[in-house]
């Protein structure tokens, strides 16, 4: 099974009925020239790329327009095809009612994970005042994807998303499954250290490549890292993520397939690790 764990469905037509809302979303998320497309296109892109499931991430930033891609919208897309889509909740943790929002998202909307964007939402993830959010995720047995490293969205600060700020959470909550998105770019070696050390931490491949995915992943996994680092150390900790619509799943997947990983390692990166991260082996594949 191939699972793309990092997709922002900002332009899926079922959540693009209001042009003003789409325009606000584009501005907040930094997708200037993109435009809505039908779900039929998503299905065809998945078929072409050979991707079975997508993890859909929302976005809530209280200081910038609120939940521009809301939990209800994510839930609505998932309901259209629950075999393909897995919805993650979003909440700005600075909201006083963040826990209430998440209880509704996990309990009623049945969203199956949480996406937090410290750089955008401007909070330090290791601040104890946010620990109740992580404890709530544990109580629902849902994982968290943290934006980690650089973000192309406007009004995002690197200081909130350095891999180091997630270490304390990994230590304090060893049962909490965490994904450091974007492999923490540009701090890829720091990210590698954290996923190597902590069994509950993963990193996804939704990296900001600056050439082409084939060249970028070669640089990342075989030049910046030793040629056997992934194969012998962190093969169980890397998740295929595309960061669509910024990057296309087919191209990110092709970039990974181009690398001299063993078959076993490639299968883990493309889906087997995600099954574990998402808890699908416990909850079933739906």
């Amino acid at each position: 099974m191939v699972i793309d764990v990092h997709v922002h469905p900002a332009f899926y037509e079922p959540v693009c009925g209001d042009p003003k809302r789409v325009s606000l979303r584009k501005g907040v998320m930094g997708y200037d020239l993109m435009s809505p497309f039908p779900l039929e296109l998503v299905e065809k892109q998945m078929a072409f790329a050979g991707v079975d499931k997508l993890v859909l991430l929302g976005e809530d930033c209280a200081a910038e327009g609120g939940d521009v891609l809301s939990n209800e919208e994510i839930s609505r897309i998932v309901a259209l095809d629950p075999t393909r889509f897995i919805g993650f909740a979003t909440v700005d943790p600075n909201r006083p009612d963040a826990l209430e929002i998440l209880r509704y998202a996990f309990g009623t909307l049945k969203l199956r994970g949480l996406k937090l964007h410290p750089a955008k939402q401007q909070f330090y993830p290791n601040d104890p005042k946010f620990f109740p959010i992580y404890e709530l995720c544990l109580s629902y047995n849902v994982p968290i994807t943290f934006h980690c490293g650089m973000s192309w969205q406007p009004n995002t600060l690197l200081k909130y998303s350095h891999p180091e700020v997630f270490e304390e959470i990994a230590v304090r909550y060893p049962q909490l499954r965490i994904n450091l998105a974007h492999f923490g770019f540009p701090w890829v070696l720091e990210t590698a250290a954290i996923i190597l050390k902590y069994p509950n931490v993963y990193a996804d491949t939704a990296c900001c490549y600056m050439d082409c995915p084939e060249q970028f992943f070669e640089q990342l996994f075989f030049k910046l890292m030793g040629p056997l680092w992934v194969e012998h150390n962190i093969a169980d900790k890397i998740l295929f993520g595309s960061n669509n619509p910024r990057f296309r799943p087919a191209r990110i997947k092709r970039g990974l397939e181009y690398q001299p990983f063993s078959e076993e390692t490639l299968a883990k990166i493309l889906g087997e690790n995600a099954v574990r991260f998402l808890g699908l082996e416990v909850n079933g594949n739906g």
């Binding site: 039908p38 078929a47 050439d211 995915p213 910024r246």
Partner: protein
């Protein structure tokens, strides 16, 4: 007189030759214009409109030749982050193939019928799929 329509097609592969002759013929058949020219024009820069013979062997040769001329892996200047899109320019080969094929074709219209050679078909040539594509059919005449 001028008549105009927009047609949308969803490609299913990165490279795909989608035959659109019937779309053009159908619009021409229902047009009030009986004599003139039919333009088929694409509204994209990483796909093309072309006229060729609809044989699987030729379609394969077209794909192979374009791939040789414009390889997937090359140090394209376009392959960098584009702030105006908020995305990476990962489709330089599509742009270059589009340039080679062109973005439109013109077909004569006589007595309400397209005048085409028996080997000719009109294609929407996808070079950057999977995407939803739009092309225009415009008939100019009387």
């Amino acid at each position: 007189m001028v008549e105009f329509t927009k047609v949308k097609k969803c490609s299913t592969k990165e490279f795909e030759l989608i035959k659109i002759t019937d779309d053009v013929r159908q619009f021409a058949a229902q047009s009030k214009i009986k004599n003139g020219v039919v333009y088929v024009i694409l509204s994209h820069t990483t796909a093309g409109i072309m006229v060729n013979e609809s044989l699987p062997c030729l379609e394969k040769d077209i794909e192979t030749t374009l791939e040789e001329l414009v390889p997937l892996h090359k140090d394209y200047a376009h392959s960098h982050f584009l702030p105006s899109y908020g995305a990476i320019g990962g489709n330089a080969p599509g742009h270059l193939k589009s340039m080679l094929v062109g973005n439109h074709c013109v077909i004569p219209l006589i007595d309400g019928k397209l005048v085409m050679g028996m080997a000719q078909d009109v294609y929407l040539a996808e070079f950057d799929g999977v995407q939803q594509r739009t092309f225009f059919i415009e008939i100019i005449g009387e």
